[in-house]
């Protein structure tokens, strides 16, 4: 635990299959090659001495139109300045994502919200239901292709 900030080289060395970058938004960025690595990488980031990122501060998704990107914000409560963004791209066509619930408790609700808003299913999740929208809601609103006839067109849009 010598250096408070995580270094890109250190990350790259620890996760050769992933791509580490000096991110601008929130600490360094770790771009995973495939979603299957997600759980193992997070496990290592959480438990390994040199990372110690035991907090999943935020977990959300992004619809770029071609694919979904899962965005994880990891921080530490011990070395507080430490932060890391983990990103992984998944296909829009019903990709199965392994759940992070065993690693991070907060993932349970975040994953439910991602499912609710994007329709991304998490395999192994204990309670894969909608969380904010009613259970009988159709569609997943934050997808770019979401349509609802009740949606209002703003003038000029």
């Amino acid at each position: 635990m010598s250096r408070p900030e995580l270094q890109v080289e250190q990350l790259q060395a620890a996760f050769p299959e992933a791509k580490a970058e000096a991110g601008k938004a929130f600490g360094p960025e770790l771009l995973l090659g495939s979603v299957e690595q997600l759980v193992a990488v997070c496990e290592q980031l959480k438990t390994a001495q040199e990372f110690g990122l035991e907090v999943l501060e935020d977990y959300t998704a992004l619809d770029t139109g071609e694919q979904f990107i899962l965005v994880l914000r990891l921080t530490s409560n011990q070395i507080i300045t430490r932060k890391l963004t983990v990103k992984v791209s998944i296909s829009r066509a019903g990709a199965k994502v392994p759940t992070l619930c065993p690693v991070y408790g907060s993932a349970e609700w975040y994953e439910r919200e991602i499912f609710d808003m994007f329709g991304i299913r998490f395999s192994g999740h204990p309670d894969m239901r909608r969380i904010l929208l009613p259970d009988e809601w159709k569609g997943h609103p934050l997808r770019k292709d979401y349509k609802d006839e009740r949606m209002l067109k703003r003038p000029g849009a």
């Binding site: 601008k24 938004a25 929130f26 035991e54 907090v55 999943l56 501060e57 935020d58 959300t60 992004l62 619809d63 965005v71 914000r73 409560n77 507080i80 300045t81 963004t85 991070y104 408790g105 907060s106 349970e108 609700w109 808003m117 909608r130 969380i131 904010l132 929208l133 009613p134 609103p141 934050l142 703003r154 849009a157």
Partner: protein, 380 residues
């Protein structure tokens, strides 16, 4: 009905004496859920077997709405997330926009944000304190804290013409400069408020019943807090000294002298103590900010139609309830491509089933009160 006609040997079949588990829906209309939240409690007598929060009753699609509005239009909406400390929402959102576009905020504007933000923290904690007293059955503290909160709201009324949903921050600064007499008014208030935390302490934390109701109740261990991404006073109540204002200073917080308050126990009482102490610290920060208030512009030069360059950012502020974050993705147009709001209460509530396991019904209310969540913020 068979049990009626056949005699049951209760000694060899203790389950014959077992009482039924009843399901109790607490909310969505219930005085102590602090908003439209439903808590599905399974009770064995007075003991909670399982507690499952059901949220979404006030979901308004904030993240979706952002995609249909320009950056500037969205500011006033953010007030309605955590309506008790609305400044932090606007502040965080504006911070994210400024980071996206690389805007330098004038120092005077930063100071004004700090002053209004800390006043907001005070008023939010005051509401919490009163509500917490109410949750454990003491009605009187509420009227006292609301009296002080009213003064703060009047100060805000003076500042921006609104009492709760301020719409004060702007991308690049704040909407208005200080009105005449504002500084004196705040100073008067602070002078009056100085001894108030002690008054509350005498009302509540010197009271044996309050202590009995909160000590050792709803203990949030550090592991649980880490795992569920609990932030803010709840985390500090568990002995983790994490406060963005100190540890990752944004705005001008690095220029103030204040303490990060922590308590090691992690129970409801510890969370209470942290918040009361935070009120004292907030008052200190406001006082310093008033003393050091620089002159100058209150807003940076920002074009009328705000079009940040392509990119993304994640801005965080320490709101009264913990870490508030805005994740903005810009595609170069006047509307965000994606706006993700990270709210402290969401994580705070997700830990609830763990905290409420095997407690008494009365403790459910005390624990919920001590966690201090805001439902509109959770539901977004």
């Amino acid at each position: 009905m068979e049990a009626q006609s056949k005699s049951v040997d209760t000694l060899s079949h203790p389950e014959a004496l077992q009482t039924d588990v009843i399901t109790l829906n607490m909310g969505p209309q219930h005085p102590s859920t602090h908003g439209a939240l439903r808590l599905i409690l399974k009770l064995d007598g007075e003991r909670v077997v399982s507690a499952q929060p059901d949220i979404g009753y006030v979901h308004r699609g904030y993240e979706k709405m952002a995609e249909a509005m320009t950056y500037n239009q969205y500011i006033y909406l953010t007030d309605r997330l955590d309506y008790l400390s609305a400044i932090f929402n606007e502040w965080c959102y504006c911070l994210a926009c400024e980071q996206l576009a690389g805007i330098e905020v004038p120092r005077r504007a930063e100071y004004l944000r700090v002053i209004s933000g800390e006043l907001c923290r005070l008023s939010s904690h005051l509401v919490w304190l009163g509500a917490m007293g109410m949750d454990v059955g003491a009605f009187t503290p509420l009227t006292y804290t609301f009296r002080e909160r009213e003064m703060i709201l009047e100060i805000f009324d003076l500042l921006c013409g609104q009492r709760m949903t301020f719409n004060y921050c702007r991308i690049g600064g704040v909407a208005r400069d200080l009105p005449a007499g504002f500084i004196e008014r705040v100073r008067d208030f602070l002078k009056y408020f100085e001894r108030m935390p002690d008054v509350y302490d005498r009302l509540l934390s010197d009271n044996a019943i309050f202590l009995a109701r909160t000590r050792g109740i709803g203990t949030l261990t550090q592991e649980l807090a880490h795992s569920h991404a609990v932030t803010g006073p709840n985390l500090r109540g568990s002995g983790v000294s994490k406060d963005l204002r100190k540890d990752d200073p944004y705005s001008v917080y690095a220029e103030f002298d204040f303490k990060v308050c922590t308590q090691s126990e992690g129970d409801a009482l510890a969370r209470y103590r942290v918040r009361v102490e935070e009120m004292r610290q907030s008052a200190r920060i406001i006082k310093q900010a008033l003393d050091q208030l620089p002159a100058g512009e209150i807003t940076a030069k920002v074009s009328r139609v705000f079009r940040p360059p392509v990119g993304e950012t994640y801005a965080r502020v320490e709101s009264s309830r913990g870490i508030q974050g805005f994740y903005l993705v810009s595609d170069g147009s006047a509307k965000p491509a994606r706006c993700r709001i990270r709210v402290p209460s969401f994580a705070g509530l997700s830990v609830m089933p763990k905290l409420l396991h095997h407690v008494q019904v009365a403790d459910v209310v005390a624990i919920m009160g001590s966690i201090d969540f805001i439902v509109p913020e959770i539901d977004r």
